[in-house]
């Protein structure tokens, strides 16, 4: 921790350079704009903006994506509050009290509460991130390859269990992702599943997989399903008459402080758990706040705490997901997988050694999160209402723009037409899978984690002369593997219970 603080000066000097601030600003504006589009969550926004990182250094690339990630979570809330159009499921909870406030003529106040809550969530969880991440990295440093392999399995067990409606489909998706990760060079000098095709020799590029699985299905939805979409209607609010009412008073702040504390902790904790993400974070925070708040019975009618709870939780998840991603190399969400992917493509290996070998990089991420949140506060205060206009762009105009961006972005990665074909084929399959509730995010996560799991497994088996039992029976490994089994059991029994309730 102290070693990290020694790098605060150089990291801060890097952050306040004009190009770095410019990249943060650009990331925040693009994140808010894309996040405000219906259907575009943080991972879809990042997948679409992946080509923008080609010319960036690792530090600039991760700062850009962190800015996009935080801003997209906030951006989705603006149309949810103003025009009852949540960008993603995470913002569906925001609609309950946010839109109710708009209907009362308190749109300005709702936007301010959403912004301040989001920024506070980002700041509080960043503080927890730096303490939590350094502690977890120190524990991670004690782990050998066997334990890291078990951790990878634990990550997969959570991802398979909690993504989508059925654990069977979640694990099937994770298996597909693992298989996709084995294409190309094996690490032992051999080639796997290349079928004598030159473009498969280096494996499937991450950008192609990310764009194909996360962005392309949205492109297909906009172009193919556009006839079924309902264009949002604008709430008729005369905010001018209620200018006084739209101010945040000291009473409001006193009421909101406990909510901010509780829900930022909930959001960060949920962010740390792989697979949970912003949707679960905002829902859990809202439900818990409903139980704790003195005005819990009025939730859904336009109560400030009911809006602040999901908003602060949404943004707290961002720094939370960075903890397992950077310290253990286990991405907690699709967005975190993209972040890890960017780092890996730039030659930065996530894991506990990152904290030992590149403390300045970690400090840059930490300070970038803080500075990024302040920039978001400024941008949000200036242009919140303008950002909501984005959600009103007709889908029929948006579809061609998104799809051509996907095609050109994939082509631009290596000026290679085969990549476009791969991304579109993967995207078409993901679009069909989505109709069947086979989730795409576990495929991405398993694709990113697969090579790391395999590398650790190979190392562990080599150390123990190929005896898998020795690897699997070490105390920490056994504990982690038992936790994985418990997770799977819990997931399956939960699904069965839900199904029985549905059938009744």
């Amino acid at each position: 921790m102290l070693d990290l603080l020694n790098h605060a000066g150089p990291a801060f000097a890097f952050i306040i350079q004009l190009p770095t601030l410019g990249i943060l600003l650009l990331g925040i504006i693009l994140g808010i704009l894309l996040g405000a589009l219906p259907g575009f969550g943080s991972s879809q926004s990042m997948a679409l903006l992946f080509p923008m990182t080609f010319a960036m250094s690792p530090e600039h690339a991760i700062l850009f994506f962190i800015a996009v990630y935080s801003a997209a979570e906030y951006g989705g809330s603006v149309p949810a509050i103003l025009i009852r159009t949540p960008g993603t499921p995470a913002q569906a909870v925001t609609v309950l009290d946010g839109y109710a406030m708009t209907r009362k003529g308190l749109a300005g106040k709702a936007l301010k509460i959403s912004l301040i809550s989001g920024v506070l969530g980002g700041l509080i969880s960043t503080m927890i991130f730096i303490v939590g991440a350094t502690s977890l990295a120190e524990i991670g440093l004690q782990f050998g390859p066997g334990e890291m392999f078990a951790l990878g399995i634990f990550g997969l067990s959570i991802i398979g269990t909690f993504f989508g409606k059925s654990p069977a489909k979640g694990f099937l998706a994770a298996g597909i992702g693992l298989m996709m990760g084995t294409i190309g060079s094996s690490g032992f000098g051999g080639l796997r599943f290349t079928f004598d095709q030159g473009y498969l020799m280096d494996g499937l590029p991450l950008i192609v997989v990310v764009i194909g699985l996360l962005a392309a299905p949205e492109g297909f939805r906009l172009l193919v399903d556009h006839r079924k979409t309902i264009e949002p209607t604008i709430a008729t609010v005369d905010a001018e008459e209620l200018k006084e009412k739209n101010k945040i008073t000291s009473l409001d702040i006193r009421r909101l402080i406990p909510t901010w504390i509780r829900c930022s902790l909930i959001g960060t904790a949920i962010g740390i758990i792989p697979g949970a993400g912003a949707s679960v974070g905002s829902l859990v925070a809202y439900n818990e706040e409903k139980r704790w708040s003195k005005r819990g019975d009025q939730f859904g009618t336009g109560v400030e705490e009911g809006l602040a709870a999901p908003e602060i939780s949404n943004n707290s998840v961002v720094a939370g997901t960075l903890v397992p991603s950077l310290t253990l190399g286990i991405p907690g969400s699709g967005a975190a997988a993209i972040l890890l992917g960017v780092l890996i493509t730039k030659g930065v290996v996530p894991g506990p050694m990152l904290f030992e070998e590149q403390p300045q990089f970690i400090m840059t991420v930490f300070l970038g999160l803080i500075v990024g949140n302040f920039i978001m506060l400024a941008i949000g205060l200036i242009g919140a209402r303008s950002f909501a206009m984005v959600a009103k762009i007709p889908r029929r105009i948006l579809g061609p723009f998104v799809m051509i961006l996907i095609v050109i972005g994939t082509y631009a990665y290596a000026n290679y037409g085969a990549h476009v074909v791969m991304a579109l084929v993967i995207g078409a399959i993901a679009y069909y899978f989505d109709k069947l509730s086979i989730p795409a995010v576990p495929i991405v996560l398993a694709f990113v984690m697969g090579p790391i799991i395999e590398l650790n497994m190979n190392r562990a088996m080599t150390i123990h002369a190929g005896d898998m039992m020795v690897v699997l029976t070490r105390p920490i490994t056994v504990t982690i593997l038992l936790a994985s089994l418990a997770t799977i059991y819990f997931g399956i029994s939960r699904t069965r219970k839900d199904r029985l309730i549905e059938e009744d």
Binding site: G175, G409, Y432
Partner: protein
């Protein structure tokens, strides 16, 4: 006009869709399992070798896929999902629209080296925008004026979008894109 009426969508039973998708995944997985037997064996004792991890992944897919396909087949035979009112058990897909969109998007990398970025991007975008602007026009209400108006609007939108994409990718990100006219006439002063 009712949105559903304009779309050429097919309703597919979820069980049928699952059977097709999981069946295809399992068939592909079995083929990949067969492929693992032609991979080189481990060079030294203790090394898992090329095929070890893919086989573990295949086991995971089979463990989830086989029970899934059996339960969905049982549902299919029992006719679950065909009951009236069970809307969740079906999904709709516009197969024709999906194939057209995919084919047009796939044509991009093949046409790009021949016609250049500007013509290909402009043409694809014009086509997509024109079909989008035209979606509520029926055969009865369609006149030459409307068609021209739709085409002009689509072309203007396509031109603006193409210029924006050129600026982002070629000028800002310095991507070497096969271009036909732009470098000669537009450099945005950069």
């Amino acid at each position: 006009m009712d949105d559903e009426e304009t779309a050429v969508t097919s309703k597919v039973l979820l069980t049928t869709g699952d059977l097709f998708a999981v069946g295809a995944v399992l068939a592909g997985t079995l083929y990949l399992l067969y492929e693992t037997f032609s991979m080189s064996p481990p060079m030294l004792p203790g090394y898992p070798g090329d095929s070890f991890f893919p086989r573990l992944s295949i086991v995971l897919i089979l463990m989830c896929g086989v029970p899934l396909i059996f339960t969905r087949y049982r549902d299919h035979v029992m006719g679950r999902g065909e009951l009236e009112g069970e809307k969740d058990e079906t999904f709709s897909i516009d197969i024709r629209g999906f194939l057209i969109v995919t084919a047009v998007a796939l044509s991009f990398p093949f046409l790009l080296p021949i016609f250049g970025f500007e013509i290909v991007t402009f043409s694809i975008l014009t086509l997509w925008f024109a079909t989008r602007f035209n979606e509520y026009v029926t055969a009865e209400t369609m006149t030459t004026d409307i068609v021209v108006k739709v085409l002009v609007r689509a072309a203007v939108m396509a031109l603006v979008t193409m210029c924006l994409l050129y600026f982002i990718f070629v000028i800002m990100l310095n991507v070497s894109m096969p271009v036909m006219f732009f470098p000669k006439y537009i450099d945005f002063g950069l």
